[in-house]
């Protein structure tokens, strides 16, 4: 259908799209989970918060599941190297993710306050640990990951769990959490009433500027504090996926080269700085819909900034930069990419269609009256 080279670009875009789908949708329900124990002590209000995400979080989580499966299928060696290299971090994320489905499903089944209180903290952990780990992981991708490949393409990670953490990665971890919480706070503004909504509004107004500042610091750090990976030569862009055929150099400011080459991509970081401020502004004027819309665009802008900066690298080796995985030498075969492209072309629009229908059907604010009326369906 398409050229191999084009297909490889398509999958770089599609995986970005799946991850953006994840941070927008699971972003708000994880954000709500992080806020859950802090924003209110009243069980009734907590139930309202959970009720706003209850019909959607299962579908939202599939963006993550499908994103991971797409990485497995489209970039098998990246999936293999990253998941086994970040072993302990991945396991912690997994354990955290255990808590969400059970927490959200079981919390309201029993009326005992201790039961509910415990699940609230479980949901908090399940919603807070993953964004931090994702932030730390993305920071490590920018810094380079200490792994090697042998002649049979077996990868080995040479670092330890604690090596993942350094000032830069912690900064990005916190930034990532702030993004998720922002997304949750604008969702709550849009879906709740009264006190809850007012508190969520204040959170957006505070965290909006915080996100902009953190993003700016991280950006300056990438520009002046980190070496970027730069491709100095590569073989056939349509050749078989073999990471040994290129040469790579580390350069100060190397992650900025794409912006020089394609100035229009500067829009991504600029909008990433702007949208959180706009979200705060929209909240100030009580435009909840706009607030949610701008935090969603903020997620798009921030992830796009990451994608533009690191292109064409997916996973870079700090030990042997030449074996880093790029968009052109880490992919599956042409046939596999073709088959999956056809599937995605058919099913992604259908998914968007029925997902939107679901949100449309559940449209509207949820308050005390609603909860009282719908005992039946609140499970």
């Amino acid at each position: 259908m398409f050229e191999y080279e084009t297909l490889r670009m398509i999958w770089w875009v599609l995986i970005s799209v799946l991850l953006i789908g994840f941070v927008i949708t699971d972003g708000f329900d994880m954000g709500v989970g992080t806020l859950l124990p802090f924003i209110t002590k009243k069980d009734e209000e907590r139930r309202i918060m959970l009720r706003t995400i209850a019909p959607h979080w299962e579908g939202n989580q599939v963006w993550l599941v499908t994103g991971a499966a797409a990485i497995f299928a489209a970039w098998p060696s990246v999936y293999a190297t990253a998941f086994s290299g970040f072993y302990v971090a991945m396991m912690l994320t997994l354990f955290a993710l255990f808590f969400r489905p059970v927490g959200l499903e079981y919390r309201n089944k029993i009326e005992d306050p201790r039961w509910r209180y415990s699940w609230d903290w479980a949901i908090f952990a399940g919603s807070t640990i993953p964004p931090i780990v994702f932030g730390v992981a993305f920071a490590n991708l920018l810094e380079g990951v200490p792994y090697v490949l042998n002649e049979f393409l077996q990868s080995q990670y040479k670092g330890g769990f604690l090596d993942l953490f350094n000032p830069f990665s912690l900064l990005v971890g916190v930034f990532s959490l702030v993004l998720f919480v922002l997304q949750g706070s604008t969702w709550l503004q849009m879906k709740t009433e009264g006190d809850l909504r007012a508190r969520a509004r204040r959170i957006t107004m505070v965290l909006g500027p915080v996100a902009t500042i953190l993003f700016a610091i991280a950006g300056l750090w990438v520009a002046y504090g980190l070496n970027g990976y730069v491709l100095t030569s590569i073989g056939d862009l349509s050749g078989p996926s073999n990471p040994f055929l290129k040469t790579v150099e580390l350069q100060a400011g190397g992650w900025l080269l794409n912006y020089e080459k394609y100035p229009v991509t500067m829009l991504a970081p600029l909008l990433g700085l702007l949208f959180p401020l706009l979200a705060a502004l929209a909240s100030k004027y009580n435009r909840c819909g706009w607030a949610f819309f701008t935090t969603s665009l903020m997620q798009v802008a921030v992830l796009s900034t990451f994608a533009v900066s690191t292109f064409p690298f997916i996973l870079s080796s700090s030990i042997d930069p030449n074996i880093s995985f790029t968009v052109w030498d880490a992919t599956s075969s042409e046939l596999t990419l073709n088959i999956m492209s056809i599937t995605a072309a058919i099913f992604l629009p259908i998914i968007l269609l029925y997902t939107s229908w679901g949100y449309f059907k559940m449209f509207g604010r949820i308050g005390k009256e609603f909860m009282a009326k719908s005992q039946q369906s609140s499970y």
Binding site: A54, G59, V65, S84, V102, I339, I351, M362
Partner: protein, 522 residues
């Protein structure tokens, strides 16, 4: 190194078997919910809505753990089986990604609407949501089993020495893989039995207690019909028709039957006996003439090849594999002359057999006769576990057939609730489908050993370069989490099953009626 392999295998087996405690119930119950709600929409009788909501409540408790434990499965291919993921991701990853896009999104989006859409959707819209959950979950199973079927019989793929991995050559072959197809039908039908048995057993509990009878009888009747269809499909469309293709499937079949020597067709079936792996024979065997040939080949003249003959051919292929491995090393070190490539192409089909030697002789090409013999001995699964697990599965299956036949007969004659003994049998028979299913998976996956991907990638080659402490850490943590979650889920299941439809707060059912009476008396 061996440590890592054993620990990773243990973790995979533990998490997969645990995952499959919940999956069958999701698969089976989803269709029963769709049937119940269809009856509600067609007859407008509230009791069918109550049934949908009550069994839906139990469905939800189970569903949460199905989703949770499914995440582990997805993660650990990458975390613990990194070389596997690299080596076969090109083929194995695709059905998983397609599953996400085609099925899991559908199931998960509509399950939210199923639970929370009762007063937001029209009756027909809600019914559609329920059907889509059922369709989505079974479609999800289809793609997962296509991936799994490929591990058993890897068709439509070829090794590429440049990328050092298997690559897809035909997507059609991958999805029409006969092993995947029979596996799908067998697994899904078996799961429907689990769903049916769940409803049958819990309805029997209400019948024994004499409460909410019309609710319980209706549930029982639906379960009886659904379960009978399920168990007949499971038994008739058993997996064995998939045992004719592929060497590993043949080894499995021979191991299941503990058939060491190839018999003249039609082979007799060993009903029971004690497999003796060291001496390569079966002790105390009781045999039924002709039966195995008939069951396995569905003919009187085709042979079922015995383990000794299979191992003889394995040895041959291991020797060939050594040549393939040597040539691959040449190719990887840069000698890609036409001659080397052509020589490699000729023997590359046996490369996997060469890799079997890696466990005993890391350089493969210099393996001694003794090491080759060792690899050959290990080229078949342990026979005794296969032999017994298979018989446990079939035994449980036949018991289930009996239960569902009688249950169906009772509901056809409108005599549900008449036999206390039978309802007690139904109640205590609840674990039977799970016993059958877990033993079945054991037969399928343990029987695949020593391969991760049949004849292509040995299990011991598939692991990640991680430390055994890391794997130990994850095993202990996962086991702890899983144990706690299991206790909680069983606690909730018991609580809501005991409460029954009274938990819906409709005011119509046993405990609420009881409360009303108490209030009236005051």
């Amino acid at each position: 190194m061996d440590d890592i392999v054993d620990l990773s295998r243990f973790q995979f087996a533990m998490t997969a078997m645990y995952h499959f405690l919940f999956v069958p119930l999701t698969l089976g119950l989803a269709w029963m919910l769709a049937v119940m709600e269809s009856l509600y929409v067609m007859t407008k009788k509230e009791v069918y809505k109550d049934m949908t909501q009550f069994w839906g409540k139990l469905f939800g408790i189970n569903f949460a753990l199905g989703v949770t434990t499914g995440l582990t499965m997805e993660f650990q291919f990458g975390t613990n089986w990194a070389y596997y993921s690299h080596y076969v991701g090109d083929i194995f990853g695709a059905p998983l990604a397609i599953e996400g896009m085609m099925a899991f999104f559908l199931e998960s989006t509509f399950v939210g609407l199923f639970f929370f859409g009762w007063d937001r959707l029209s009756k027909l819209q809600h019914l559609m949501a329920t059907w889509l959950v059922a369709i989505g979950s079974s479609m999800s199973a289809l793609w997962i089993l296509i991936a799994n079927g490929w591990m058993q019989n890897p068709v439509g793929a070829e090794f590429n020495y440049v990328t050092m991995r298997m690559e897809m050559t035909s997507f059609v072959d991958l999805i029409l893989n006969p092993v995947a197809q029979v596996k799908f039908v067998h697994t899904v039908a078996g799961s429907y039995v689990a769903g049916a048995m769940f409803v049958l057993a819990i309805s029997s509990y209400y019948l024994l207690k004499g409460r909410d009878l019309s609710f319980a009888k209706r549930s029982f009747a639906i379960a009886a019909a659904f379960g009978l269809a399920g168990i007949i499909s499971t038994l008739v469309l058993g997996d064995e028709s998939g045992y004719e293709v592929g060497d590993v499937q043949k080894s499995k079949l021979a191991a299941i039957e503990s058939e060491w020597d190839t018999q003249e067709a039609p082979a007799s079936f060993t009903l029971i006996g004690i497999p003796n792996q060291a001496e390569q024979r079966t002790d105390y065997a009781i045999k039924i003439p002709y039966a195995l040939g008939l069951i396995a080949t569905r003919s009187l003249d085709k042979q079922v090849i015995g383990l000794k003959d299979l191992m003889k051919s394995h040895k041959e292929r291991i020797r060939n594999g050594m040549i393939a491995y040597g040539l691959l090393e040449q190719l990887r070190s840069g000698d890609t002359s036409d001659q080397t490539v052509a020589a490699f192409e000729k023997v590359k089909i046996d490369l996997g057999y060469g890799l079997l030697l890696k466990k005993y002789a890391p350089n493969v090409v210099d393996a001694t006769e003794a090491q080759i013999q060792q690899a050959t001995d290990d080229s078949i699964p342990g026979v005794a576990p296969m032999f017994f697990a298979f018989r446990i599965m079939v035994g449980a299956g036949i018991a289930l057939l009996g239960i569902f036949l009688f249950a169906f007969y009772q509901s056809a004659r409108n005599r549900i609730g008449h036999s206390k003994f039978f309802h007690r049998l139904c109640l205590y028979g609840l674990p039977l489908p799970w016993i059958a299913i877990e033993s079945g998976w054991f037969v399928a996956e343990y029987g695949r050993q020593p391969w991760a991907i049949a004849e292509i990638l040995p299990t011991h080659m598939g692991v990640s370069s991680v430390s055994s402490n890391q794997v130990l850490f994850s095993i202990i943590s996962i086991a702890t989490f899983y144990l706690v979650l299991l206790v909680i889920e069983i606690f909730l299941m018991f609580k809501f099953s005991r409460m029954g439809p009274s938990s819906l707060n409709t005011g119509k059912y046993h405990f609420e009626q009881l409360e009303n009476k108490i209030v009236d008396n005051h």
